[in-house]
């Protein structure tokens, strides 16, 4: 940028050092983390991201210790280091913690730290939502992981198959409830992160960063967050059914009353298989950032990586039944899933070849991150090849539930996720710690981990093929797998020592070491604008991007950013601000005021967590109290912190550009967040509807000919009331926008009443017809759909009431109408839910 262009805009003189110093002081003050005990009210991505990452690593170490106790137990035949029942808890918790408390959250954690930096944004659009997600994760995680210290941990495997887990005879105690409720609660954190990351990637990119210039990491984040939105909700639906069966004996998975345990397997694996890719893709995304830096050239085949990320994202949803080859499904069904399982190897392979091609055509620097990348690719390819083997149904029938599968999944996860992540730790540590990690310790750690891993897991292939089943607490000497297991156990400890070396490298005091130089690896992407040590404001000014590797290719770029020659070089009004841009080309749309520190997200998370924890132990009064407090805390948070009317309509963001400070409808990020949240919500609903039609498919007659349903009359009335509430919400928005505040308020009030009446009426149908949900799966399914929809009606009513209050409090006006505009959007989904529910429950049986 020339000086002439800069001064052409009649803003502050960025060449004046005094001006810049004043701006930096203001920015520093505005973005500073709170001090003292208030530190825990921080919501900025740098604080929350680091807590999140540290917590996820902490859970990983805990689950790693569990793994080591398993390896001690299995080191020799007929060992009694652990009892059988405790061993069950240990392996269940090992899998659960690694998957739910480490592999998925670490993606969210790392993305919360890195994404804004890569996008030249000051923060993600919903920092308090990130903080809420973190606290949910933390509370749920401690609850689930801590249960083992009370000998109460879940003990039936990380995928909780019924009837083993639904029958009190086999799994007494609270273990499965802790799993179901604790993890459902954590899934909220994942969905919150998905919303945050999708909106962040699509709407908070810097000006000029078109889709074709986005860092590859952001492409992966977009795909993975989209996958979370479609993968986690079916599990939430499954959890609801499961917990209703455990708590109230609703027989969804009990064949003697029309249920089917295989339905759980479907719902679990519709989540579970995409989850493998949800774990794998973000780690590979780190590789996609590391490889160009150390090959010293731009990535070769950018579009091919996008193909791989998006293609894998889709096809990974067509694989779930390959975990269920032995359930007796017809061969033709298995064939479809086997075909998709083979097809997914194509995009997965493409990205590996892209990395290899980039390295072959570049001048490679062999650093510690590259060492881990090389180890990752080698390990992952082996896991991928055994994956192709177990994707073939006849082979899987032999290998299913043996140590062959254990070996396969660890090769995939450690090669595809842990090694790339360690590469990322070594690569990105300067951004967090302002110093490089030790090169020497890194190499030692890598070789210990790489050798230890292969020594531990390679023999498991043979142990599995020799017939050693997974999840057994011990084995007879006659099986002939004693040596192989001893070798595995030795390898596991070597591997663990490598992990410890990294832990030491991270936590060892190094205050006497000098700071790393800025951009220590000479990388080309925006996150390396960070100063050493970094400032909490993120970027000094939000840059204009015209290249995929601006630090390499845009002349004078770092200086222009540092001197504040781009957008938002100042915080004149002492508010935290970032830019919102268009999806395709990154054109500036508005200046977003993001909220600062607050304890409300933590309080809301504690209250919500209390609901789940009290429900686990059936303390109903406390559960309901916590529920009320949770709703109240969320309302207070929203009331005080969202949709705030700015003191002026627009502001000069620099370079002569004036942008509005408030936008509603599809231009606002809140609207996008509602849309994305409700898409996830709708997916969970589809999971429940899938349950209904699943039972319809497997039963010759469903609904059973003798069964009494909810009738047609009451559901029809409910549908009419839902439609009125929906219409009221829609017209309230339109009238309010048109300045007719009085009639709009009337409609909000009427809509609120109508939706509460609609919910009550919908429940009245099955109630008045005496449907007993514990008698058979049909009434249970009717009830669960009716309750789901009624809850949505209730929430919709509450939202309309909230808008009414906002209107009376002058916090919502015809011009500033985010609240009603988002609530109207909610009602499109709620109305659609009611329509499908009533059509399924009341009208569909008439067609049969």
């Amino acid at each position: 940028m020339t000086e002439r262009e800069n001064t052409a805009a009649d803003g502050p003189d960025q060449e004046d050092e005094e001006v810049r110093r004043g701006q930096e002081e203001r920015l520093r003050k505005v973005w500073a983390a709170p001090k003292g005990w208030r530190y825990w009210s921080a919501v900025n991505n740098t604080e929350v991201g680091i807590w999140y990452t540290a917590a996820a690593f902490g859970f990983m170490l805990f689950a790693g210790v569990l793994a080591l106790t398993m390896r001690v137990q299995l080191a020799v035949p007929e060992n009694d280091f652990l009892t059988a029942t405790f061993y069950n808890q240990v392996y269940t918790l090992h899998g659960t913690v690694m998957m739910f408390l480490f592999a998925v959250p670490i993606f969210e954690a790392v993305a919360i730290i890195l994404l804004p930096e890569m996008l030249g944004a000051r923060d993600l659009p919903f920092p308090r939502l990130s903080a809420f997600g973190f606290w949910c994760f933390m509370i749920g995680g401690v609850f689930v992981a801590g249960s083992i210290f009370f000998d109460a941990a879940p003990n039936a495997g990380w995928f909780m198959y019924p009837p083993l887990t639904t029958d009190e005879r086999y799994t007494p105690g609270y273990g499965p409830d802790i799993w179901l409720l604790g993890l459902s609660f954590i899934e909220i954190a994942s969905l919150a992160a998905a919303v945050e990351l999708i909106v962040g990637t699509l709407k908070c990119r810097p000006p000029g960063m078109r889709l074709n210039l986005m860092p590859l990491y952001a492409w992966y984040v977009l795909v993975v967050a989209g996958m979370i939105l479609f993968a986690f909700p079916p599990l939430i639906a499954g959890d609801i059914l499961f917990e209703l069966e455990r708590m109230f004996d609703w027989p969804f998975f009990d064949p003697s009353r029309g249920g089917d345990p295989v339905l759980w397997q479907h719902l679990f694996w519709i989540f579970g298989h995409p989850e493998v890719y949800i774990v794998f893709l973000p780690a590979i995304a780190l590789v996609a950032m590391i490889v160009p830096t150390f090959a010293q050239r731009p990535i070769l085949g950018y579009s091919w990586i996008v193909l791989a990320a998006v293609g894998t994202g889709f096809i990974s949803f067509g694989l779930w039944v390959h975990h269920m080859y032995t359930t007796g499904l017809p061969a033709i069904s298995l064939g479809f899933f086997s075909a998709a399982s083979e097809a997914v190897a194509i995009p997965t392979g493409v990205q590996i070849f892209v990395f290899l091609a980039t390295l072959l055509t570049g001048r490679v620097i062999f650093s510690v991150p590259m060492l881990f990348v090389a180890g990752a690719l080698a390990t992952f390819v082996i896991g991928g090849l055994t994956g192709v083997m177990v994707a073939l149904a006849p082979f899987d029938w032999q290998a299913h539930d043996t140590y062959f599968v254990v070996a396969h999944l660890h090769y995939v996860l450690i090669g595809g996720m842990l090694f790339p992540l360690m590469a990322g730790v070594y690569y990105y540590w300067p951004i967090i710690g302002a110093r490089k990690l030790s090169d020497r310790l890194g190499r030692i750690a890598f070789w210990l981990m790489f050798v230890g891993f292969n020594v531990a897991f390679l023999p498991m292939h043979w142990a599995g093929l020799m017939g050693m089943p997974r999840r057994v607490w011990t084995y007879p000497e006659a099986l002939g797998v004693g040596i192989s297991n001893l070798v595995s156990s030795v390898g596991a400890f070597v591997f663990a020592s490598g992990v410890l070396v990294i832990v030491w490298d991270v936590i060892r005091p190094r205050s006497r070491e000098p700071y790393a130089k800025r951009n220590p690896w000479t990388a080309g992407t925006l996150e390396w604008l960070a100063r050493m040590p970094s400032e909490s404001w993120g970027v000094r000014s939000v840059p204009i991007i015209s290249s995929r590797y601006p630090l390499w290719e845009q002349p004078n770029f770092v200086d222009d950013v540092d001197k504040g020659r781009f957008y938002l070089p100042d915080a004149e009004e002492m508010k935290r601000e970032t830019l919102v841009t268009t999806v395709l080309d990154g054109k500036p749309l508005h200046c977003l005021r993001v909220p600062g520190p607050s304890f409300m997200p933590m309080i809301a998370a504690i209250m919500t967590g209390a609901v789940f924890i009290f429900a686990t132990f059936h303390w109903w009064t406390l559960t309901i109290t916590a529920m009320v407090l949770s709703i109240a805390s969320i309302i207070i948070w929203l009331w005080r912190g969202t949709a705030q009317i700015p003191e002026k309509a627009e502001k000069d963001v620099g370079l002569g550009l004036k942008l509005p400070l408030y936008k509603s409808g599809p231009d606002s990020i809140g609207w996008w967040a509602m849309f994305i949240t409700m898409t996830g919500d709708a997916t969970a609903f589809v999971g429940l509807i899938f349950g209904y039609f699943y039972f319809f498919t497997i039963h010759a007659d469903f609904p059973p000919p003798t069964a009494v349903g909810p009738g047609v009359f009451w559901p029809s009335i409910a549908l009419l009331l839902f439609a009125s509430a929906w219409t009221a919400a829609l017209f309230a928005r339109i009238l309010n926008r048109a300045g007719r505040v009085g009639p709009a308020r009337g409609l909000m009030a009427a809509g609120s009443v109508a939706s509460l009446a609609a919910s009550a009426t919908l429940l009245w149908g099955p109630f008045t017809n005496g449907l007993d949900p514990s008698a058979h799966v049909y009434p249970a399914t009717v009830w669960v759909l009716a309750i789901w929809t009624a809850v949505h009606g209730g929430v919709g009513g509450l939202m309309l009431g909230y808008c009414l209050a906002r209107s009376y409090a002058d916090r919502m006006t015809p011009e500033y109408d985010i609240d009603i505009s988002n609530v109207a959007l909610y009602w499109h989904f709620a109305g659609g839910t009611a329509l499908v529910t009533v059509a399924t429950l009341a009208y569909f049986p008439m067609l049969m």
Binding site: G208, R210, L211, N212, L213, P298, Y302, S303, W304, V306, L307, V310, G311, F314, I315, F317, G318, L329, P330, A331, I332, S333, L334, G335, F336, F337, S338, A339, A340, E342, A343, I346, P347, I545, S546, S547, R548, V583, L584, D585, T697, I698, H699, A700
Partner: protein, 125 residues
């Protein structure tokens, strides 16, 4: 999305082909599952189901072929080649067209993969 003539590409046109794959996949799976449940006569031939899936396969492949044709054509008439990293609307368009082409190719292959079971499996065993 426009099939004939020039289209402004976006994220929805990018995922059109894999969405078609998804619909084809779910249709095939649900139809076969519905036909083969509740497992009364597993040796009975399911010819009509296979024909229906075959028909939907043809339709899906044709639709994906249209996506390929459009993306390919527009990418070439826009100049093809290596402009995907340029800071212009044309660069973005070219990138989206080329990526659409690649994804559509993958989706085509995946639909062909998905259809193979109906060629060899004729009943509900």
């Amino acid at each position: 999305m426009q099939i004939f003539g020039r289209t402004k590409d976006n994220l929805w046109t990018l995922i059109a082909a894999p969405v078609i794959w998804g619909i084809h996949f779910l249709f095939s799976y649900f139809l076969a599952a519905f036909r083969c449940a509740p497992n009364a006569d597993i040796f009975e031939s399911i010819g009509s189901t296979r024909v229906a899936i075959g028909f939907v396969t043809l339709v899906s492949l044709c639709l994906i072929a249209l996506v390929i044709r459009r993306a390919w054509h527009e990418w070439l008439t826009g100049g093809g080649g290596f402009r995907n990293d340029q800071d212009t609307p044309e660069g973005r368009e070219s990138f989206l067209e080329f990526s659409t082409l690649l994804l559509a190719g993958l989706s085509f292959a995946a639909v062909v993969f998905e259809t193979m079971p109906i060629l060899v499996i004729g009943d509900c065993r």
